[in-house]
Amino acid sequence: MHKLLQEQKGAKIMLLGNESIARGAIEAGVAFATTYPGTPSSEISLNLFQISQESDLYFEYSTNEKVSLEVAAAAANSGLRTLCMMKHVGLNVAADPLMTLAYVGVKGGLVIISADDPFMFSSQNEQDNRYYAKLSGLPMLEPSCVAEAKEMMIQAFDLSEKLQEPVIFRTTTRINHSSAFVDLGNIKPRIVKGRFERDPFNYVTVPAVSRNLHVKLLKNIKKAALESEASALNFINGDGPFGVICNGVSLSYVSDAIKDLKVADKLKVLRIGFSNPLPENLIKKFLADCRKVLIVEEGEPFLEEAVKAMAQEAGLTLEIKGKSDKLFSRLYEFDPAMVRTSIANYFDLPDKPGIAVSTDDLPEIPARPPNLCAGCSHRATFYEVKTAANEMSLDTIYPTDIGCYTLGFLPPLSMGDFVICMGSSVSSACGFAKATDQKVVAFIGDSTFFHSGITGLINAVFNNHNITLVILDNSITAMTGHQPNPGVDMNNFNLSGYGQVKIQEIVKAAGVKHITMIKPFKVKKSISEIKKALEYKGVSVIISQEICSLYAKSIKQLSDRSFYITDKCKNHRDCINEIACPAFFLDADQVKIDAVACVGCAVCAQICPENAILPLPKKQS
C-alpha cells in the first residue's frame, strides 16, 4: 500500500513537505486531482499519481496548467473535492480560468496549489503569487512548516466548501522540499462521482451573468474576511512591546531568532496563515499594542503595504518596516541568521556575532554546473543543427524553451539564445524571423510542445513565418522527473486506457509543409536532413526522436554497450570540445570514456576524425 494511504491515525511518520501536502489532500477526502508538473510542486502530483493507481482517486497529468484548472473546475462544480497543483509560473498559464472561476465559484471544495520558488532553484522567475489571491479575490492559505501543511490542506478544503470558492494554497520551495515528522489523521471517505446541476445563469459567464457574479464575489470576499478574522491560522505568539508580522517559512526563522537572542519577553509575533483577505481587525489591534513593527516576508512587500495602509486607517503612527536596504530584500530566500540579524538591528537588540570561517583565500573551486546526461539525445540534435547551420554559413538565432534541453545554452553547445516561458520558443521565433534577416531555428521539447507550442506553430503557419522548429521528442517529460505527456506510450508505465497523440500528425494537421523526422544518433544522415529543412523558406519542422537516456535506463530499455577510445586517438579532442558528453574524462592528458556512464549512443564515434572510438565487446553488468 502507498505510504500516504495508511490509516493508522496518530502514527508519526517522516514526510517530505510535498508528501505532507498530498497526505493532507487524502485525509480531506480529495477525489479528483489534476496537474501539469513543475518543480517545486512535482512530488505532490507524483504521489497522487501513484495513489490513483491503487485507489478510486482520479488523477491526471493535463497538457498544461490552464487545461488542468479547467478540468478541475468542472469536477469541483460537479461536487467533488478537487485538487489542482502547479508551480508558481504555472498559475500564469492558468490565470485566465482562475479569474472567472472566482466569479463562478465551486460546489465541492477546490484547492489550487501554487508552489512558489524564491531564489529560483528551478524556475525562470521568483514571482510572488500572493498577488494572484488579491487579483482574483480568492482566499489564500500559507503554511509555515511541513506538519502544518498537512493540517492546512484539510482546512483549505473545508474553507472552499464553506465559501463555495476555490482556495489558493501557496507554498515556497522550503516547505515543499523540507522533511519533518507528521502525525497522521483520519482519511475522510472519497466521494468520487458527483452530479452537475445545470444553472446557466450562474455558470455561463456572458456579461449580464458576470455582472451579478462579480457582486457575489465581492460578498464572498467579505465572508472570507470574517473567516480570516476568526481563523486560528492567524495567531499571535508571545508578548512584549515589539511586534513581528510574518508568513510562511519565515515564522520558523523568527521563532529561532527569538530563542537565539533570548528576547521572548520583548517580541510578539503575528503569523499570517490566512493571507487573503487579511484579518484587518486583528492586525490593527496587534499594531495598536506594539511600539514598533517589523514585517518578515520573503518576496514582495505584500503584507507590508497592506499593514501600513491599515495603520494609516487606524490613525497609528508607529514605525513599520520590512523591505529596505538595511533590512530585508525582495530578492531570493531568507535564512535564519539573516532574519535574526535584521530583528536585532531593527529593535536594537544585541545580536550573536557572525562566526563563519573566512573563505576568501580558498583556492578556486571548479564549478559543477548541471549538464545534459551522458548519451542525452538533445546533445546529438544540438550538435547536428549547429554543424548544419555552420556548414551553410547561416547567421542564426536559436530561441529555446523550458526543459532539460535549456541546458544546451551552455558552452560548448551554446544552442539557446532566448527563453522567457513555456512555449515561447516557437512564437518568439516568429517575431525574430520578421524583425531580422537572421535564420531562426527554435527548439522545443515534446511535453512543452503539447503544453503551449502548438498554438505558436499554427501562428507561424498562418502568418507564414520563415522559421525552423526543432521538436526534441524524447517521449517523456524529463526535467521534472519523467512524468508522462500526451505523446507517451503509457504501456511504459504499465497503464492502459490512455490515448496517445503523435506529434508529426499534429504538425501535419497544423499545415506545416516541410516535415523532417530524424534519428539524432545517426549523425551524418541527420545533418543532411537538417540542412534541407534549414533551406526551406517558410515553416519547416524537424522532429528529432530518441528516448531520454535517463528514462530509458530506468525502464531498462538502454542498449547494453559502451564505447572506448582506441590508440588511434590523436588527441584532437573534437569529441570533448564539441559535444562535451560527461562520460568523457582526461587521464594523463588522454581522452577516456567512463564505461559506466557511457550509454552507447555512438555520437562521438561518428564525429571522431580518426575513427578512434569503438564499442566495447559487451558491457559488464
Binding site: S252, A356, I365, A367, R368, C404, L586
Partner: protein
C-alpha cells in the same frame, strides 16, 4: 534540548538523500525532533545535492553560513565549497575520493590539491576527519555504499544525539535485503575509520 546542525553535501547520485532519510528515521525513533531540507534541483544532471538537518529544539530547516556544527562531505571539492557553512568549532568529515566536475574532466578547471584542501579545512575548523570513503565502500562490497561509510564516520564522532544502534535500525528498515549486509559492513568500516582520528 541542545540544537545540532548538520550539512551534507554530495554530488548527484551519491545517495546523500537516503542517508538523510535514515538519520531522520533514527531521530524519530530516538525521540529527537529533527527538521530537514534538501536542494536537489538538477541532481540527476550532475549538480550538487545539499541537505541540512537540524536536530533539537529549532524550527528552521536550513542552516546559515557559519552555523553548521558538522559538515559531512561526500566529495572533497564540494566539502571545501561548503566550508563557509562552518565556524571554528565545527567538525568536518569528508571523503577524499574526488569526483572531478566535468569542467575539470575536460581540462577547463583545476581540481584543488587534496593535501592543501585538508590543511585549509583543518586550520579553520575544530576537527577534520578525512579518508577515502570510496575505497571503504569497495571493501564493503559495493561502491554505492559510500553513503553508509560516511554515516558510520558521522555517528562515531558522537556529536549527533543518535546512537549506532538507532541508525543501524534505520538502515535495516530503509535498505533492500540484498544490500543490507554490504550497507552494515560499510557503516562499520566508516565508523572504524573515524575512530582512528579520535586518537589524534
Amino acid at each position: 534540548m541542545k540544537i545540532t546542525r548538520l550539512i551534507i553535501v554530495a554530488v548527484g547520485g551519491q545517495g546523500n538523500l537516503l542517508a538523510s532519510k535514515m538519520l531522520g528515521e533514527a531521530a524519530l525513533s530516538a525521540g529527537i525532533p529533527v527538521h530537514m531540507s534538501e536542494i536537489h534541483g538538477m541532481a540527476q544532471r550532475g549538480g550538487v545535492v545539499e541537505s541540512s538537518l537540524v536536530f533539537g529544539d529549532a524550527e528552521s530547516t536550513i542552516i546559515s553560513n557559519g552555523e553548521a556544527d558538522i559538515l559531512l562531505g561526500f566529495e572533497p571539492s564540494e566539502t571545501l565549497r561548503a566550508l563557509n557553512r562552518c565556524n571554528k568549532n565545527s567538525t568536518v568529515i569528508t571523503s577524499l575520493a574526488p569526483i572531478p566536475p566535468f569542467t575539470v574532466a575536460i581540462g577547463k578547471g583545476v581540481y584543488p590539491d587534496l593535501e592543501q584542501l585538508q590543511k585549509l579545512i583543518r586550520s579553520r575548523t575544530c576537527e577534520l576527519i578525512a579518508f577515502n570513503a570510496l575505497d571503504l565502500a569497495k571493501q564493503a562490497g559495493n561502491i554505492m555504499s559510500t553513503n553508509m561509510v560516511l554515516l558510520g564516520a558521522l555517528i562515531q564522532t558522537n556529536i549527533l544525539p543518535i546512537s549506532a544502534d538507532q541508525i543501524k535500525t534505520a538502515i535495516k528498515t530503509k535498505t533492500k535485503k540484498i544490500f543490507l549486509d554490504v550497507n552494515l559492513k560499510a557503516f562499520d568500516l566508516g565508523f572504524e575509520a573515524a575512530l582512528k582520528f579520535s586518537g589524534e
